[in-house]
Every structure is written in C-alpha cells, then in structure tokens.
C-alpha cells in the first residue's frame, strides 16, 4: 500500500527526522492559509500516487500566499497519468546546499532490510547505482538484533561523507531504518535529503509503501492519517468489474475467487490457482487469444462462489465464451467447480455446452466432475491435455473473432 507524500512526510516527522514545515490543502483557500503559516516562498506539489509530477506541471512555486492560492487551483484540477490529485502539499521552499538520498528496502536474497545512501540525491537511485556505483552505500541490518548506530555510520561513510555532515546524518539514517521496521514498510525513501546552508539536514520528499499483510497492526496510524480500510492503493484504481469480483469473493468464506482483474478481450477466464493462472493467462495470449479478465480460484471454493465468478465473467460485455482451466488441483474440487460454472450458465439461460469453450481442471474428484460435464455436453480435458493445449483449444473455438 502506497502512501501519498503528505502522509509519508507525517510518518517521517513522527520518526524524529527533520522535515520542512508543510501543509496539506484540497482547495486554493486552504493552500493560501498553509502558505501564510509557512510565511515565505513555497512549493505546491500535486498529491498523486504516480511519478512524473514535475514534467506534468504538478509542481509549482509561489512567493506569496495569494500566488500560492492562484497556483494551487490548476494543480488541484490536473490529472496526472490518469489520477486525479488527492490535494496539494504546500511546502517550504528550502535553500539546499546539497541533495542526498537515503532509503531502506528489503533484500530477498539476504532476507534482511538494506539501507541505501547516496550523496547524489534528487535523482532515481537505480540510475545512480548504475552510473555511479561508488556513490551508493549499502548496509544490511539484522531482523532480530537491535539496530545499532555504527550501521548508519558505515553506510554514510561508505560514499566518502565525513566531518560534521557524517555526525549529523547518522541519527537520521538510524531513525529512518527504525521507521522502516516499526511501520512494516516494504520501501521508504527520502529523496532528496537536503543539507541546508547552516549544515543541518531536512527531508524534502518522502516515498513509502506499507506491506498490505501488515495493515491490521497499524490501524491506529492509518486511522490518524485518514487512510480508509477500503483504500487499496494499488498501482491503479479497481474498476467496477473488479469490485464486483471482490464482492463475489467476500460473499462466502469458503475458498477464494480472487484477484479479478479486467482486460478488454472476448475470452472470459475462470482460472486458478496462483501459478496456474499466471501460466494460463500467458498461454491464452501465446495462442493469440484476448482475455477479458484475469482471476485466481483456489482453496476449494463453494459452488456458489464458483457460480458467482462465472456469472460475472459471462455477463461482462464482449465476452463470447468462457474457458475454465486450472493446474492440477488437490484441494479445490473438480466437481464443485464444474457445478458452479454450469449453474452460472443455466441461471443466465445460456447453454453450458456452447458457452464453456473448454473445462480443463484435473485432480481431486475429477471422476465426479467429468460425469457432470458429460451430462451437460461441455468439452472437458483431463491431465493428458496440457494447460497450453487447453488454452489453444479455447482460443480456436472462439475462432479469432477477437475485437
């Protein structure tokens, strides 16, 4: 789950890291008041969960509160990469001597967090790492031993920073690492971390993601920041079709019909499980098929849930037929899914034999499942037909009539 910059800044501030005075505004008038409180030149920054704000015109400068209100108006209206801004951040325009970078991410190979530090801030850290590897310091730290100051010191010293700057940076970096751990973040970045004329350091921008699985243990923080339980904060907002998919999944507790994602093709997919869905979606596309959706069934769903998902997909505009396919199942039952998808067709007054292009789910209770499919004349396949063959067959049946 991604935080907006104004939320991320608040978390940074609470962690004891110096930030410039800032305010959050959703109207020009609020922006004017925020600028007044700051009392000097300000920066107005669009609050969206996407990059490229500067290029899009989502960052503006103002010298007076009146100018701040004036500049905030258009920024509040500006859609960036399809996203309407949540508001604007009104920030002190700081006189920076030098920009640094400080961040923490997970290293899945070492299985520890790693602190990244650079004296070349203000640009993308991946770019710095590639072009100036000696300007990026890395320091892993333990998951069970307490975080120690020397670790922060090492990562700063690694890029050659010394003197008063080093001593001022160490507590900031240590707090940043502690903040990463305490808030179950998967990524946090302060970029730039500015050194001011007086030698002090201030966080000028912050970027962070909290792990979805850990949201429950940060309820208090999320509530204080005003993050609603229903805000997914995914890379893009869920569509109505995707929300309907979620409703199907939530309607009964047995099994999973998850991750329903909308695409614009004509082949409806009722597929599973995790790895199976990834494989099958690729397979349909490999054979020239255009999927209408992605989904993952698994965990032995009820007939009702399989039926609900199939109905949703069958009714999606543009869907001609559905393909019901999974990798070999051992927990989910073939007969239950067969009942669900056939029931969906019948209840929608559709002929299962015509609407279900292929049913390829081998495994648990397949003998019972195949009896059901046979009765309704649905083409089915056992494990001797590979996942790719099944996908190819589904695409063939729709006969390249893709839109």
């Amino acid at each position: 789950m991604r935080f907006f910059e104004y939320e991320a800044r608040e978390i940074v501030k609470r962690a004891g890291i110096p930030v410039t005075t800032f305010g959050f505004a959703t109207t020009p008038e609020e922006a004017r008041r925020a600028a007044e409180e700051i009392g000097g030149p300000v920066v107005i920054k669009s609050q969206v969960l996407t990059g490229g704000r500067m290029k899009a015109g989502g960052v503006q400068f103002a010298d007076t509160p009146e100018e701040a209100a004036e500049k905030a108006g258009p920024v509040l209206e500006l859609v960036i990469n399809g996203q309407e801004p949540r508001g604007v951040l009104v920030d002190t325009k700081a006189e920076v001597e030098q920009e640094y970078y400080a961040g923490v991410v997970w290293d899945g190979i070492r299985k520890q967090p790693v602190i990244l530090f650079s004296d070349m801030g203000g640009i993308d850290i991946e770019e710095v790492a590639e072009q100036h590897p000696d300007h990026v310091g890395r320091q892993h730290f333990s998951n069970i031993l307490p975080l120690s100051e020397f670790q922060a010191k090492q990562v700063v010293a690694a890029v050659g920073v010394t003197g008063p700057a080093l001593n001022k940076l160490v507590p900031i970096i240590k707090r940043l690492a502690q903040m990463f751990v305490d808030n179950d973040l998967t990524l946090c970045e302060i970029n730039p971390l500015g050194r001011m004329a007086d030698g002090s350091f201030v966080a000028l921008d912050a970027h962070m993601d909290m792990e979805n699985e850990a949201r429950a243990r940060h309820k208090a923080l999320l509530e204080e920041l005003g993050v609603g339980d229903d805000e997914t904060r995914e890379a893009r907002e869920p569509t109505a079709f995707e929300l309907a998919g979620e409703a199907v999944d939530n309607a009964s507790h047995r099994g999973v019909a998850g991750n329903v994602t909308e695409f614009d093709g004509n082949i409806g997919l009722v597929i599973g499980a995790g790895g199976g869905s990834l494989t099958l979606f690729d397979a349909v596309r490999k054979y020239g098929g255009k999927p209408a959706n992605y989904c993952e069934i698994g965990g032995n769903p009820s007939v009702e849930k399989a039926c609900g998902l199939a109905k949703l997909v069958l009714q999606k505009p543009g869907v001609e037929k559905i393909a019901v396919m999974m990798s070999i199942v051992s927990n989910t039952r073939v007969d239950i899914v067969a009942r669900g998808v056939i029931k969906a067709c019948l209840e929608l007054d559709m002929d299962p034999a015509e609407k279900i292009a292929i049913f390829r789910i081998p495994g648990a209770w397949e003998d019972e499942g195949f009896k059901i499919l046979k009765k309704y004349g649905v083409e089915y396949a056992d494990r001797s037909v590979s996942m790719h063959e099944a996908a190819e067959r589904a695409v063939e049946k729709i006969g390249g009539r893709a839109a």
Partner: protein, 80 residues
Amino acid sequence: MRTDAIFIGIQVDDAVAGDAELAKRLDEACPVDIYDGSEGVVRIRRENVDECVLCRLCLDASPAETVKVIKLYDGDAVLT
C-alpha cells in the same frame, strides 16, 4: 420428502422426517448446511443442496436407508 436442486437431490423418508433428534443430528453433521433441524423436524434448505460435497456424514447420522443423496447428474445414482 424429496428436494431436488440442479445436481443433487435429497430424499428423507417421511417416517423419520418428524424425528427431532434426527433433525438435530443431520443439522450438526452437514458441513454445508443442507439440513435445518431448528424446528424439531427435518427441513431441507433447497439453496444449499447443490453445495453437497458427498461426504456421507448425513448417511452416517441417520438410520440405514432413511436419508438418500441422489446424484442427478449421474443417472440418479444414490450415494452409498
């Protein structure tokens, strides 16, 4: 009494359908809530009949031959 859904039919011998004890046992045994024993008689929740997982727990909970689970998709084969 007999209740048929799309895939599964449930038949309970009328001679035992009024047995409160049996109704309670069936209600507790069925993992997908097909039987409702709350009113002291065996009732069948039609909307759940197709959820039957063929577990046989209702057969074990009732006197022989009094409860039948019928597979409508398999030539009305009776679950044994």
